[in-house]
């Protein structure tokens, strides 16, 4: 059943962009849509625009944050419509319900590895429709049947003739035709872009400084602000020295914002100087006096209340695991530029969540949707943090206050201390093993803050949060008696989306626990897993590929260890192995191998990049990242005490892509959760030391 259909007419229009030619909009029915939408031009999401000179613009409904989405979605469109790849340009979509990902249930958002997965269907259809219209237009021009017109590389060719027409030449005529309802799609064997390693469209501009990130926005009369929020979460400004700030050259205004204060100046550094002079003091706050130790005690209390399951088996493995809060720490600090006038509101923002930006723009500007424009810039790293709108709201408040465009730029210290963190969590297992060492019962208790209750309070009342339990609720191993209990624990520290969300910790817990079971029984961890994956061909294949590439079972040099793991998330299955060596507590990461089955493959280049980057991101967290709370506030503040893995220490990673032909899966996150268990299992293999809490640096383990 199709979730979408080509509903609207193509139209020819001299648009505000003064282009003529063909513009095709596509609308699909979002899953739960009840009302039919008004069909007017402004509401038509424009996906494809061909101008008479043949330039073809694709409107990309997702934010480009390094995952290569501008390229992969363009490939789908260009392949189906047989466009000339050299003529393609991309633009990020404005806010419009037509750009909502069919996979999304929270509106226009780029999250959950869903862009290619969700748009694969609709975009193919849009591309195919445009191609058919262009062929039809050529057929009319030549007065021949459409079957005699074929499309290739931006041209329509006439059968048995040397005549051809470029897409630009017939775009206008094509624009007068109806959009075909059900255009024929290409067979996969005929793809000329899909499945090939295509170089990313946005990369050249990212090597010469010309790519515009949110932080690079410059407008006439723009002012520069920075903010400081209560380090104790939820606290309020108590006192500040406005006169001292005003003495700093360039400082224009000091403005109170929710839970904090802003200094507006004519330059970011001067705003920062003003902030220092301001000497702001805070009081109150929900986490006042809180210590990390108390949070841990709360977890333990919750787990004790859940209780351990009495397990009767030949042998019982009783385990406890723990992970800390983490910061996304995207390299581009949080920023947003807003310009509110009496009857218009414009926002330039590196955001993953356009719809939420629109909502806060409406709230602060008190204007309506037609008067508001949200421009999505390139994003210098999202990882979930840019699905929040705290920084957007601040720029709107300040622009409204000043009546001028204001760019808010956070200092790194704000970013680290004012997060929506990956929740800290604890997990216990009682695993019953039979006399052969295989699990017959699996009892897992998880205590973790709820990410979703901020959006849907009843989650917490009933102790459910599918994001906290993801990865733990469905394990691939065949175990008859499977139980998972979850208890929500709220310490007041804000939590949110962090690259791969619940999988980021549950994969560590589960893949370590299964490794422990294997070792306890004296089994090889690979063969043990394979046996428990009986009948699960896709999982087995992934694991076997990892084993093959890492030459699992080979004799390792002294002090070396190899760890393996497996995880499924967002419709993709991935496995990893990593080879490490340890001398005392000095760790060296030699090489990692990843295999992924994401069903269908669009661009192997970007899939590989996501595997390499995601795994490296996961390694960084595993090795040394943690957010801890002291006296109600985050102890860390910048990269000196929130260490990110650098080139020194980062292993080479080889990636194998398995195209199973199954339903397309997301690739943006699945490599992240692999890192912790692969590394912990490898360290066990090399040293016999089992790491059950992260980061590794807590155990004295350091990169050599």
């Amino acid at each position: 059943m199709e979730k979408y259909s080509l509903l609207r007419r193509a139209f020819l229009k001299k648009s505000a962009l003064t282009c003529t030619g063909l513009m095709v909009g596509l609308a699909y029915e979002p899953k739960c849509s009840l009302a039919a939408k008004v069909e007017n031009l402004e509401h038509l999401g424009i996906w494809i625009r061909i101008t008479p000179d043949g330039k073809t613009t694709f409107i990309i409904p997702s934010s480009e944050m390094g995952q290569g989405v501008n390229t992969s979605l363009s490939m789908i469109l260009a392949d189906e419509m047989e466009a000339d790849w050299q003529m393609i340009k991309t633009e990020t979509a404005p806010v419009n319900s037509d750009y909502i990902n069919p996979e999304s249930n929270s509106g226009q958002i780029t999250a959950g590895s869903s862009s290619v997965k969700g748009f694969w269907g609709p975009l193919r259809k849009a591309g195919a429709a445009v191609k058919l219209m262009l062929r039809q237009a050529a057929a009319q021009r030549w007065r021949i049947p459409v079957e005699e017109c074929s499309a290739r590389s931006g041209h329509i060719y006439r059968k048995n003739s040397s005549q051809k027409l470029s897409y630009g030449e017939i775009a206008e005529a094509a624009g007068k035709l109806d959009i075909p309802f059900d255009p024929p799609l290409k067979k996969s064997k005929d793809y000329n872009l899909i499945g090939r390693s295509v170089k990313r469209i946005d990369i050249p501009s990212k090597t010469n400084g010309s790519a515009q990130f949110g932080i690079d926005v410059r407008l006439p009369e723009m002012t520069y602000a920075t903010i400081c929020q209560s380090p104790v979460f939820g606290g309020e400004v108590m006192s500040y020295d406005e006169a001292a700030a005003n003495k700093i050259r360039g400082v224009k205004k000091v403005v109170i914002i929710p839970n904090g204060i802003a200094v507006i100046a004519d330059n970011t550094w001067r705003a920062k100087q003003g902030m220092e002079a301001l000497n702001v003091k805070f009081n109150g706050g929900e986490t006042k006096g809180l210590e990390s130790k108390q949070i841990k005690d709360e977890f333990i209390k919750a787990l004790d209340a859940e209780g351990k399951t009495n397990t009767e088996a030949f042998n019982v493995l009783d385990l406890e695991y723990e992970v800390p809060y983490l910061s996304q720490a995207a390299l581009e600090p949080m920023n947003c530029t807003a310009n509110i006038t009496e009857n218009s509101c414009e926002v330039w923002v590196p955001t993953q969540f356009q719809e939420a930006c629109m909502d806060v723009a409406k709230e602060i500007s008190e204007l309506n949707e037609e008067q508001i424009k949200i421009y999505t810039t390139y994003i210098g790293g999202g990882f979930g943090r840019r699905a929040e709108t705290d920084f957007v709201k601040q720029s709107l408040i300040l622009s409204k206050e000043l009546g001028k465009p204001v760019k808010v730029t956070w200092m790194r210290e704000e970013d680290i201390q004012q997060g929506f963190y990956r929740p800290a969590s604890m997990s216990r297992f009682q695993i019953g093993l039979n006399k052969d060492g295989f699990p017959v019962s699996w009892n897992n208790q998880l205590a973790s803050p709820s990410i979703l209750k901020r959006f849907f309070a009843p989650m917490a009342w009933f102790n459910v949060d599918p994001l906290s339990t993801e990865g733990a609720d469905e394990i691939p191993y065949a175990i008859d008696d499977f139980n998972l209990d979850y208890t929500e624990v709220d310490s007041g520290v804000p939590v949110g989306f962090w690259h791969s969300v619940g999988s980021s910790f549950n994969a560590f817990f589960i893949e370590s626990a299964i490794d422990e079971s294997a070792h306890l029984a004296g089994h090889d961890p690979l063969l043990y897993r394979l046996k428990l994956l009986k009948g699960k061909a896709r999982f087995q294949k992934v694991l076997n590929k990892v084993a093959e590439k890492s030459q699992w079972g080979r004799e390792l040099p002294k002090g070396h260890g190899l760890g393996i793991c497996l995880h499924k998330t967002r419709g993709s299955i991935a496995g990893a192995a990593i080879e490490v060596s340890t001398v005392n507590d000095l760790l060296k990461l030699h090489k990692a191998w990843i295999a992924i089955d994401c069903g269908k493959v669009i661009n192997p280049n970007t899939i590989r990049a996501q595997m390499e980057g995601g795994f490296t991101f996961g390694l960084s967290a595993t090795l040394g990242e943690k957010i801890t709370i002291k006296d109600g506030r985050v102890e860390q503040s910048n990269f000196h005490d929130y260490p990110i893995l650098r080139l020194k220490g980062a292993p080479d990673i080889s990636v194998e892509i398995i195209e199973s032909g199954e339903e397309i899966g997301g690739v943006g996150e699945v490599a992240v959760p692999l890192a912790s268990p692969a590394l912990a299992n490898a360290i066990f293999s090399s040293s016999g030391k089992r790491i059950r809490s992260l980061p590794m640096s807590n155990h004295g383990i350091k990169i050599a």
Binding site: D202, A330, P333, T616, L647
Partner: protein, 157 residues
């Protein structure tokens, strides 16, 4: 408030007369005063390398470099290393950037390193190219540094 000098800065071959405080970091002079936004702000404390520029051919972190100490020196930014620079080419060839935010810094650090030594050892590379890439592009970064050296050699020879 002290306002004595009006720094004269030579950036990418052009001289700029500026009316700024002498302790303003070069980073903010470039970005906010001159609108040269290719040089990025990541941490402000010399940790991440996103703000790397060349000062008399040396890679420096401009977020902690007061503008007065850049006076009279040759400043080169990402905008000034020329189109078709072999290091940029290597970055495109190896498809290094993910979000791309760290890339100006990586390219500036690499070109400074290679301008002195086309055959740096692995440990020299790891120590000199200490830039943070949050997206984790290090697998390709390593390859691109090697390829850059090759391309420079080819160009020179």
């Amino acid at each position: 408030m002290r306002l004595i000098i009006m720094p004269l800065l030579k950036i990418n071959g052009t001289t700029h007369q500026l009316d700024v405080e002498d302790e303003m970091p070069l980073l903010w002079v470039l970005r906010d005063e001159l609108g040269m936004t290719g040089t990025k702000f990541g941490c402000g404390i010399g940790q991440c390398g996103a703000c790397t520029v060349h000062l008399n051919g040396e890679a420096v972190r401009s977020c902690i470099l007061p503008v007065f100490s850049a006076q009279g020196k040759e400043i080169i930014t990402i905008e000034g290393i020329g189109e078709n620079n072999p290091v940029q080419k290597a970055w495109i060839e190896e498809q290094v950037p993910q979000c791309g935010y760290c890339i100006s810094g990586q390219i500036m650090a690499t070109s400074a390193l290679l301008s002195k030594n086309l055959k740096p050892s692995e440990s020299e590379i790891e120590n000199k190219i200490s830039n943070i890439c949050r997206c984790g592009n290090y697998v390709r970064l390593r390859k691109a540094i090697r390829l850059s050296a090759k391309l420079i050699q080819k160009q020179g020879g």
